[in-house]
Symmetry: C2
Subunit: 205 residues, 2 copies
């Protein structure tokens, strides 16, 4: 059974990113360091989780997670990750503005989907075949998929910080019933994994 | 070193209680069952944590955690917990309305403190002697103590549910730097424990 897994690092107060993203500040007003220290300072301690985050058969991500360009694609932006992004698989980017697909080194190809979150997920499901599809972020993209009842699992990394302001995971999503699958504490992060049992009246499949 | 520990059960989206508390609904619009299932359905699996929650030398709690009475104490409300509350120690209730202390069975005494959160904590510290002081809730009381830099540790129980609306722990608290002390996953709850390193510019002691 192919699973759709939403993955994200958040602060203890649920902030995944700051407001006012720019090219220089991919996470906006919130210092990425506050939230993502675990990934950069303790990669070996968290190798299994990092490997899994980039193990999907295909990815869906929002336009802001892909880059700072708004509106038309009036520049040749190819993501934040250099020539060889860590995904090594098709990545479907949600946008309102058509753009030709971009093959990158290492097997990552960015595809641009203009007909909504369900269409993007359908394409990712087809591309992933039996492997998992990851909804890789950002905050509003995961919230949209959760609210639509399209997420099977949440794989979260909770950083030991209270940020205070920013884009909050789960905001506006409404009630979701979860089942705890696993938790692991590391020195700079708590890994938690949940299965989605029911979203706003939608029964589990 | 005497520690001040804030203890609370929250949903994954940080909700500790609903709006519109009444005597019939201590947790307001949010069903307590959504958040507190772990405590009622799996007490043995969580015995160590439950025992610790009620192990303090003294407690501080907000008026709403103590009861539904607002304004003057115009009725003989003695808490939600019956004749023998689980605290077995002095409990300092924050209120703007004076009231004589109420000794209960089993060693719990409710004291009513009208001169603010620092005064209540001072009295609890004295009463607890070398033992820990617990800030037992509710949400706004813990948020006030956190914002004031008066909490040494957070002992949270995170329930596997997204509630959507209600009183949110950490709201308005501002940046707090934490250190993960421990985490444990049980079938209906994730226990996490943090040491507070710094609150809004206040250095750790």
């Amino acid at each position: 059974m192919q699973r759709v897994i939403a993955t994200m690092t958040i602060s203890l107060d649920g902030i995944g990113s700051g407001h006012n993203q720019t090219e220089e500040r991919p996470f906006g007003d919130t210092s990425s360091e506050l939230i993502h220290r675990w990934m950069f300072e303790t990669p070996e301690e968290n190798r299994a989780e990092i490997d899994e985050i980039v193990s999907a058969g295909a990815y869906v991500m929002g336009r802001n997670m892909f880059g700072p360009v708004r509106g038309e694609w009036d520049r040749d932006w190819r993501g934040w990750w250099g020539d060889d992004p860590p995904y090594h698989a098709p990545v479907f980017v949600l946008t309102h503005h058509p753009r030709a697909s971009i093959p990158m080194a290492g097997g990552t190809t960015f595809h641009f989907v203009t007909d909504g979150i369900e269409a993007a997920l359908d394409r990712a499901r087809d591309a992933a075949e039996e492997r998992a599809v990851h909804v890789a972020g950002g905050v509003s993209t995961i919230n949209q998929y959760l609210a639509a009842g399209l997420v099977d699992e949440l794989m979260l990394q909770i950083s030991p910080t209270i940020v205070g302001t920013g884009l909050r995971l789960f905001e506006g999503v409404g009630p979701v019933d979860l089942e705890l699958v696993s938790t692991r504490g590391a020195s700079l992060v708590t890994h938690v994994r949940y299965r989605v049992r029911r979203t706003a009246g939608k029964e589990e499949s």
